[in-house]
Amino acid sequence: MNKLYIFLKYFFIVVWTVFVVAPFLWALTTSFKDFQSVNGGVTYIPWVDFEPNLEGWKVLIKSPAKGGVDIIEPYFNSMFVTCTASLISIILGTLSAYALSRYTFKAGFVKNNDITFFFISQRIMPPIVLSIPFFLFLSSINLLDSLTGLIVVYIVLLMPIAVWIMVDFFNKVPREIDETALIDGCNPYQAFLKVVLPNSIPGLIVAGMFCIIFGWIDFFFAFILTFTEVQLLPVKIVALNSSVTPWWSLSASALVSVAPLIIVAFIVERYLSKGNLSGAIK
């Protein structure tokens, strides 16, 4: 019985591992193919099935004038938008989360939990509902097709995540430490900056990672609110997916875009194993 269980367990893990890895392996091999080895039937193993070449990768750094796909600018645009929106969301979200965790609010029937729920419930909002008014609004103030416009929209996407994780985290930081700081003569802001924040770094990192993930992987808003002036990476790559798709450069650019977030996976795992994510969803 026990042996069967262990066998099934490893079997399942192996199957899932293959499933997880398959598209990456396929993309990796495809990125070294040329026209013939993509369109002349399915090929798998480099040097055996097909002769690998670097064309798919070289195209990425060529300028568009020479027939390249310029993904460097979209790459930095994506990074800039993601990081700025994450930073703003984390700062504002952390302040609000601290207030919700330490003080009591009451306005009529609205209490702390309701305010927290209001923040988090913004994730329920389907992006399409916001996209139409944002589209019309941003075009009326000339922020359509600009980085600023996107950052504003991304704050709505990311702040709920920051508040969600940080409220929970502050609830686990003992109140005594702020009280001690206050007795020692700090004002509430000093207590927050000098005592509470340094004790919340794991929470800030986890919240930051989640903001970066959900900012980096967004496609929809970038797709609707930007066109030619500003392009983000996902939009650029999907645009490559036209009728005569160059699968090799498509695969290479996909791998390049996915790469930086693998580091995030390592960081998340580290904090997960330390137990810093534990209470977030209770």
Partner: protein
Amino acid sequence: MNFKHKYFFLFPGLFVLIGILIFPIIFVVRLSLSGWNSYNPGLDYIGLENYIRLFTDDPRFWESFFRLSFLSVTTVILQYVIGFALAHMVWKDIKFKRFFRVLFLVPMMTTPVIMTVIWRTFFHESLGPVNDLLSVFGVAPKWLTDPVVAKFTVIIVEVWQWTPFMFLLLLAGLLSLPREPFLAAAIDGASPVRKFIYVTFPLMAPISIGAIIIRLIEASKIMDTVYVLTSGGPGTSTETSSFYIFIKGLREFQMGYAASMSFTYLIIMIISLTIIAKVLTKVLLKE
């Protein structure tokens, strides 16, 4: 503690969020009462005409909504079962524990649309590896062009993409469980199966509810994957509500009508998610 300071902490975030959201939402409601389209762009007032059209004369919207419900419920159930199984497997000691944990997290870190572009080549009917390998068995499913199979292709891609998120939430939950119940079960000599049914699962119930709700919320937005994978096709067989609203609003520029659909959609989402949350809480916590 001083009374005023708390507002300085709370308000910047709260007001930025409300400030960004309030006008779009009011505007959607107002827009839904207008006949804004590409011939006649402007906020005229046509009363409830759009809503009447939506409720009496647009089966495509309701079909897309039921399709969305089917897709999101199916994917979330699959993600929950697989995610729980995976989390349970790498929870306790296993070889290369951290390697598997990182590996199982990776798909959620990848951009859905970009991976979907890869999946499209993967499921390509003549040049993709799946049908090439399946040709050994003499079958060649039309992954992207058969109305029924295409739905399952969407489900496969969604499960690949988002099971890691479920896995992450459930593993975080498992790691936070108290030790005592497990010690007690071990002393009683409970088998692994009984231990799971009587100890692990009940303890995980609140976390499961949270994780399922979070995933349902995110799954109800399925749109990117569909756009890239099948563009809603073949026909309308993989079209979800968001995608249909997108076509009406930002492709055909029937802004007024699209706004009435998106407002209806938002209300339905809020009501149905609240009901699901209530039901799940009752079912999982009572046992």
